[in-house]
């Protein structure tokens, strides 16, 4: 590890700034306008810091930033934050997404200050997940980010919001509580072996685990992460949560929360249990492939546009998991890049559905339609993001998907061939969405209302997203550079082949 001798705790700032703003926002509940500007200011400040780090980092490897303080001494728990290329990309995505989440909720009326406060709490929690290197701290943030999401869905969501919120909470808790037991077990094993009771990820990697226990511990971790990813068949909370959440909530769910599960696999589950991981990759790949087709099939049958996009997310995370399972540099890089890209395109689609819903009060594909003639700019953006989402070459998702497919072919030609079919499916449901929402006949609803095209605020939200879509699609190197070395380290440091004693 090359530790950067830093003096200023930038990483803590990324967590503490939103936290303080969230608390202040709660206290000043009666001043929603103030809290709105506060939320925007703070999220912009956080975005500025992350962009600053991104520019300074300039594709270097190792820990770009690292902080470590004792926290709960009697259990050997430390407050350890670290930022490498992989977390950098996700932190950047988080900071960027939260700015959009604030902007899209600009005119929300009901309990506005509390709403912004929840968004800020969530930003702090997600940042914490992407930065923690101490398993206890990680677990803490992992659960902390659930609570604001629970309230966002439950208080500000659509008709079946309570059902969706409770289901979301209990599903994710079910996975993570078992992970807590596994963390404690690992901690005890490591402590008994070395006398050093610590939750540090780096230390726990060197624990030798009894063969009888190892599959169970690994399963507990993978289950916690797979629920969040979500891997089919653990995905059933996702369509409900995504559909019922307010637009900002759907944006955060799709853009960020799903990534925490994948990040957990990459950062924690695979490095901690390299042999188990190697043994489970084909199984995970099978689930991923099944998920790609199953979700595509279900997505195609949806009548609720938001639900269709939600299922498209399930299909996309299937690609990402497949990329991890291929376990080579190309696919892994593709996976991480797709994590970033998916946050942008799916986030954009949810944002646009929010805008359309705001105008039409409807999300049903059958009732929408005929928008192209009335709001051409809006429709053009929608088409653009939908095309990006289905993997049109030159746009962002294509890069990630093609890398994953190349890597998958390399690892196992069958996986690659099957996944290829998934891309076709993606085109099918996405085109159906586009056709139903912006062209096609509408049943009354869209005819009656007078259409306003995009407001300047909405344009302000969508323009940077579109720029990023093109940027990643045309010159992905900017975003591939920072993850190159971490990915290589991950593959070598936890090299599955080496761990198995040279046998393939």
């Amino acid at each position: 590890m090359n530790l950067e001798p830093i003096t200023f705790p930038w990483l803590t700032l990324l967590i503490v700034l939103p936290l303080l703003a969230a608390a202040l926002s709660l206290v000043l509940r009666k001043h929603p306008v103030f809290s709105r500007w506060l939320a925007l200011g703070i999220t912009l400040a956080v975005l500025a810091i992350t962009i600053g780090i991104f520019i300074v980092a300039d594709g270097r490897g190792g820990w770009l930033l690292y902080e470590d303080y004792p926290w709960i001494a009697s259990f050997g728990i430390r407050y350890t934050l670290g930022l490498d290329g992989i977390s950098l990309l996700l932190v950047l995505l988080t900071a960027f997404t939260q700015v959009l989440a604030i902007l899209i909720s600009w005119h929300r009326k009901y309990q506005m200050a509390v709403f912004y406060s929840m968004l800020l709490f969530m930003e702090a929690g997600i940042m914490g997940v992407f930065l923690s290197l101490d398993l206890f701290l990680f677990y803490l943030f992992w659960e902390v980010m659930l609570i604001p999401m629970f309230f966002l869905i439950g208080v500000w969501g659509h008709e079946r919001r309570v059902y969706a919120a409770v289901k979301f909470f209990i599903f994710t808790m079910a996975g993570s509580l078992l992970m807590l037991l596994a963390i404690i077990a690992l901690y005890l094993l490591h402590g008994q072996q070395t006398g050093d009771y610590s939750f540090a990820l780096a230390a726990l990697k060197n624990t030798s685990i009894p063969p009888a226990l190892e599959p169970w511990l690994y399963a507990a971790f993978v289950l916690a992460f797979a629920v969040k990813v979500p891997l089919v068949p653990l995905h059933t909370w996702l369509p409900d949560a995504h559909t019922e959440a307010p637009t900002a909530g759907s944006l955060d769910l799709a853009g960020l929360l799903l990534k925490t599960g994948l990040y957990g696999l990459i950062r924690i589950a695979f490095p901690l249990f390299p042999e188990m991981a190697a043994a489970s990759l084909p199984l995970l790949a099978a689930f991923a492939l099944f998920g790609i087709f199953y979700a595509a099939w279900i997505a195609y049958a949806q009548i609720d546009a938001k639900r269709l996009i939600a299922y498209s997310s399930v299909a996309h995370v299937g690609f990402m998991v497949l990329g991890l399972c291929a376990w080579n540099v190309t696919a892994m890089e593709g996976s991480i890049l797709l994590m970033f890209s998916h946050g942008i395109t799916t986030g954009a689609l949810f944002l646009m559905m929010g805008m359309i819903h705001h105008r039409t009060e409807s999300r049903e594909i059958g009732r929408l339609g005929g928008i192209w003639g009335k709001a051409p700019v809006l429709s053009a953006f929608f088409l653009f993001f939908a095309l990006a989402s289905l993997g049109l070459p030159g746009l962002n998702n294509f890069v990630g998907e093609i890398l994953i497919l190349l890597g998958a072919f390399h690892a196992n030609p069958l996986w690659g061939a099957l996944a290829m079919g998934g891309v076709v499916f993606a085109a099918a449901y996405m085109l159906r969405l586009v056709q139903g929402v912006i062209w096609g006949p509408s049943e009354g609803r869209t005819e009656e209302i007078t259409w306003t095209d995009l407001h300047p605020r909405e344009l302000l939200i969508l323009a940077p997203l579109a720029v990023l879509v093109l940027w990643i699609g045309l010159y992905p190197e900017t975003f591939l550079a920072p993850i190159r070395e971490p990915v290589r380290n991950l593959l070598e440091g936890a090299s599955l082949v080496a761990m198995k004693g040279g046998l393939p």
Partner: protein
């Protein structure tokens, strides 16, 4: 009893004499607010005395300890009593409680709990337990106009009297087996090979029945929901935190006296813990009254604490003490919110009463939500650290199955805790006006909330202090 012994009893004396004094003053100056606030002052003074005055002796007349462990619990129960009284100021006025008697009883109860936690002899155990049980006989039925309160009081009285009989008999049998009341020697009577081992075991079994009744472990829990429902909310808070916690504190001392090989007891304790968690959780799911839900939730929580008790050792003891503190803060807070919402129309108890009140009473309902999340063990609250400590102790001493049961119970418990949160914040706002709550209640709730959040984020200092208790 020497002067030193008396000096060591100082905090208890402050509580007991303060209680008597208030009772007398209350007869001439029946001013509720003043009396109750004086009671708060007395309880805080007792806590300060226990915290800052180092007693000259380690043990008082062979009955009570006065070491760090005893002092810690005296501080804790005195503070709990102070909070209960703070929560009662407006409540007592609203329901027309006799201020002097009420305050005196709460203070006396705190003295009993402190004595029980400090007991180093079975006689001390008996005296401490009876002291606060007597107090509860009265306090539970303190609201004279409420038939549910009278029913609850009677229920507690009848079952409590039976329990007292069991306890006296059990202690007598243990004495027969070992020839001493003093702990830990009294437990030697049941070591393998002891002459009167069967008698000792019988006595210990009877004692376990009493303990099971007091901390409401399944199958001795049946009184709990009715009594919680009928008792005034602050009293239910005291009953659910102080009386149960004090028994567990004494139990740690009691079990420390057992031989290392506890194979006779382990299956019984194991089963008690497991069925308390399972039955408590499943029963809590079906409630539509918040106080009854909290009653069953306390059954589950006592099941968790039993896990730590079984695990034993340093980490088990530490986990118990931390959990008791975390549980006390959250549970007292939850009952406190109910007390503060109580107006002329009585206590809000059913789930319907909580529907849509969140945005009308944002501070108290948010506080209740946080207390419930702490009870559910969600970070960053004290309840999470407490649960972590218990599961840690369980895994360390090989009670993995109980830990998994506990995890499953907490998962299901989320449903009934969240239900209240959902009702408060995620339904349509209602027009029902609950009481706005007084400044004393708000300050007590702020203290509980502060404890729950701060212990969840920075538990280090308290954990270190607790580690010192066992060294």
């Amino acid at each position: 009893m020497t002067g030193d012994d008396l000096a060591a009893l100082l905090p208890i004396l402050v509580l007991a004499l303060g209680s008597v004094g208030l009772l007398l003053i209350g007869a001439w100056f029946p001013r509720r607010r003043t009396l109750i606030l004086t009671g708060v002052g007395i309880a805080v003074a007792a806590a300060a005395a226990a915290a800052f005055y180092t007693p000259p002796v380690e043990e008082i007349s062979g009955l009570y300890g006065s070491g760090l462990y005893a002092r810690f619990f005296t501080v804790l129960w005195s503070l709990v009593a102070a909070l209960v009284l703070l929560l009662s100021v407006r409540y007592a006025v609203e329901l027309g409680f006799a201020g002097g008697e009420y305050t005196a009883l709460v203070l006396f109860g705190a003295a009993g709990m402190s004595l029980l936690s400090a007991s180093t002899s079975l006689v001390g155990f008996f005296l401490g337990l009876e002291a606060f049980t007597l107090v509860f006989y009265i306090l539970i039925a303190f609201h004279k106009g409420d038939p549910l309160g009278a029913e609850a009081g009677l229920k507690y009285l009848v079952l409590g009297a039976v329990a007292t009989g069991f306890m006296a008999f059990g202690i007598a049998l243990i004495y027969t087996a070992s020839g001493t009341f003093h702990l830990p020697e009294a437990m030697e009577g049941i070591t393998a090979g002891a002459r009167f081992r069967p008698i000792g075991l019988l006595g210990w079994g009877m004692l376990l029945v009493v303990i099971g009744f007091k901390v409401s472990l399944v199958p001795f829990h049946l009184w709990t929901p009715d009594v919680y429902q009928g008792a005034p909310a602050p009293v239910a808070g005291l009953l659910s935190t102080g009386s149960k916690g004090a028994v567990f504190a004494a139990l740690v001392t009691l079990l420390a006296g057992l031989p290392a090989d506890r194979s006779d007891l382990i299956p019984i304790l194991w089963v008690l813990s497991a069925i308390s968690m399972v039955v408590g959780t499943l029963s809590a799911l079906r409630q539509d009254n918040v106080k009854r839900m909290l009653a069953y939730s306390s059954v589950v929580h006592m099941g968790y604490v039993m896990i730590a008790l079984l695990s034993g050792g340093a980490s088990g003891g530490r986990a118990i003490v931390f959990y008791l503190v975390a549980y006390a803060a959250a549970n007292l807070g939850a009952f406190g919110v109910i007390a503060s919402l109580t107006g002329a129309g009585g206590e809000p108890q059913t789930y319907d009463d909580f529907q849509g009140i969140g945005w009308r009473n944002p501070f108290r309902c948010a506080a209740l939500a946080i207390f419930l999340l702490s009870l559910a063990g969600i970070p960053p609250t004290a309840g999470f650290i407490g649960k972590f400590g218990i599961f840690y102790a369980a895994m360390e001493s090989g009670y993995g199955v109980l830990a998994i049961l506990g995890i499953l119970a907490s998962l299901i418990s989320l449903y009934y805790y969240l239900r209240v949160v959902v009702l408060m914040f995620m339904t349509f706002e209602c027009e029902v006006d609950h009481a706005r709550g007084g400044i004393s209640e708000h300050s007590a709730l702020t203290i509980c909330l502060g404890a729950v959040v701060i212990l969840g984020i920075l538990p280090g200092p308290l954990l270190d202090l607790i580690a010192a208790l066992f060294s």
